[in-house]
Amino acid sequence: MCSHIVEKAALVGSAKGRKGWMRIDTANVYFDHPYYSTLDHVLAIDFTNEGEGGRDRVAIELSAESARALVERILAALASGEAAHPVPVQVAAE
């Protein structure tokens, strides 16, 4: 397809790349021809820190089917994880 369509997601997190761990603030998400995979199209995500210039990234290329399955597993992990480890409710000071 070779479009320039990119979905940008703001993130709070970290990722491990070739220089070790780094903070990330952005995921650039697109469905297009891959660089490495032999698949015709991939769901690609580049995790970067655009606040620091975005020169380093942690990249993944997934088949469409496995990307959708991953989305479900992420949501399932969040649901079960948050049930097991409830986020404390902040009580406003009197």
């Binding site: 397809m1 070779c2 297009d32 660089y35 975005g54 020169r55 990249a59």
Partner: protein, 258 residues
Amino acid sequence: MSLYQGLQAELVRFRGHNGDQGDAYYARPTRAGRFPGVVIIHHLPGWDEWIMEVVRKFAHHGYAAISHHLYFREGEGSPDDIGARVRAAGGVADAQVMGDTAGAMAYLRAQPNANGKIGVIGFCSGGRHAYLAACTLPGIDAAVDCWGGNVIIDDPKLLNDKRPVAPIDLTEKLNCPLLGIFGNDDANPTADQVNRSEAVLKKLGKSYEFHRYDGAGHAFFNTARDAYRPDQAADGWKKVFAFYERYLGAAATSVAAE
């Protein structure tokens, strides 16, 4: 002339848009003689290994070939990381790509082995760039668009400051013969868009030939992808070399030089 010819491939510096200097991959036959030049415009993922193979393929067939790195302004880094940064920034501007392509053409013309003829060929987004170059740059003798997407723009939202004009709207200015190679299963350009492009070329009386392949989609020449279709690609390459031989004179020139 023996069946196989030697070639030399190397990284060179070229001067592109606004006089900026960048890297290019240049390959040429090592035998004596004057050769037509071909500028190879890389696809959107970047200046990658397959594009280098294409450059060497043209040199093997008797052309002085160059592929300029359209993303060189991004600085050091692996081609895939650089390509990702360019994508995240919305791609490169058409005006910059045309300036860089004119610079690559100038590099070829300045070489002592040049026979004065220049072809351009591009793949994917580079196919679109080849179409643009054929409509906007002087001095191109033959252009090849391999499955360039967005030559026809059906969604006006795809036009922006970097890509302000649909190439099809510049067709009246097309100033050289055009060869188009397309897979009928491609989603961009679709078979319908290819038909509409051809209708415009025909209506304006332009010199062109289109070849469409069943059982092939986007990037079917690309041996690094599942999209590779060996039979269709072999025929497509024959069409490319026949076209360039007709308009650039590769075989006649190289044999005469022996």
